[in-house]
Amino acid sequence: MKHLLRNTARVYIVLALGFIYVPLLIMMLNAFNQSRINQFPLVFDLVWFQKLAQNQRLIRATVNSLSIAAFTSVLATICATFAALVLARQQFRGKAFLQALLLPPMTIPWIILAVALLLTFFWLGISRSIVTLLLGHVTVQIPFAIIVISARLAATDRTLEDAAASLGSRPARTFRTITLPLMLPGVLAALIFTFAVSFDNFPISYFLAPAGVSTLPVEIYTAIRTGFTPEVNAISTLVFIVSAACALVGGREISFGVRSA
């Protein structure tokens, strides 16, 4: 009976993974399919990758997404590191309130945050530019970064720092030799995670990007609405493989507070 339950559970996990991955696999297979309208049987062909190589729009959008994600994740992680250190190592009144303040930017529908920023910039006479886009991205990244780094700091042993301090180590030295190495994996995880958050973000880019600047999600959105060719499959396949690889590396570190595998 117990065996039956356990095996049923295992079959269920496989089915669930099927639901999660089969659509993506079908999309990826069609990237290598000659058919223009994603029809099976599969006729192997690299034509869509060749077409992609000539599609400046899609390539530029992908490069934009990558550069925006790289720049904003560094900025957000730096800001978040300072905040996480204070939140994790300092007792003060209003700390719970400050931690609660992190929730709205993460949880409210991002369309609301995006239009609020658009409206405010417009009112102030700031037109949409690459800067407004970056500002918006960092705003949604900061809370995620603080939470990831805080989780790491909470898991590290404070007695090490106390020991160093009681042995006469100065604060700066304690920080450099104890706290910094201990928190570094968390900082790296925050970098990777915020990168993914920015790379994935659609609403902020959609509302705040200036005319002529497009990101990969915006480009895919436009492609689906205006008719698409399997070049989109090709770029999506490449991006999915790369981000899955990053997830396998970065996910180990984060695991969302779950004990690491």
Partner: protein, 282 residues
Amino acid sequence: MSMRFGGRWWGLIPAYGWLILFCFVPLAVMFVFSFLSAVPLGAREVSFTFNNYATFFQSSLYSQLTLISLTMAFQTTFWCLLFGYPLAWALSKAVRGRTQGVLFLLIVVPFWSNSLIRLYSWVIVLQNGGVISQFFKLFGISVPGILFTYPAIIIALVHAYLPYMVLTIYVSLDRIDDSLIEASRSLGARAWRTFRRVILPLSMPGVVSGVILVFVPVVGAFVEPRLLGGRQSQTLGTIIENQFVNSFNWTLGSALSFLMLFVVLLLVILSAGISRLRSRAQ
């Protein structure tokens, strides 16, 4: 108080300054503008008004759209919970060690990939003559693609938000001490009773945060309905998008955004309150 490097409050300034300037101030600005007749620009005359909110209550269109958005969010949350709870349970109790870690990562991976890519993959699968239609054709059954129908939206939303639900429930199930379950068993409780009296109550915090993490963003969803729901499909999210992108009625868009936030907030407070009452009752 011990003096530690970085333990000084100024460390908070960059992050919180940023959040205040680029999240809370814009929200406040939008809140104020939702009571104005137009966005104040230059010499334009604007006046204080409740018209934007009145529009919502006068026209049945908006209450219908709100109902659609809420139904969409309820259904997505329901399916995520129905499929996600057993999945989280299976992950935490039916597999161990390395396998557990690998499976857990596999569930998390789509989190990192682009959500538009995942949506796009559903367009390919569900379209007319797509994989599903082709599959049934093998058996001589003609099935039209369900792209541009309401179920397509729900399928894609469940696909997108299932990992959130699984993650939060998994974390709370994982924290349950197995000895509690053993104790319940050795005291003679059957499996179902153990589940209802021990496992379920202890995993409630995970369920509540999972429900919130799925429900709140889905109420505002506008991409999925736009791409998978076809031309007729409208939600509160798409109508807000419309106000800002097409019809340029920004003050009405602001009012609609705040009504959406208000509804969401109400439901979150309600569900948090219910779970607190429950935990107190036990």
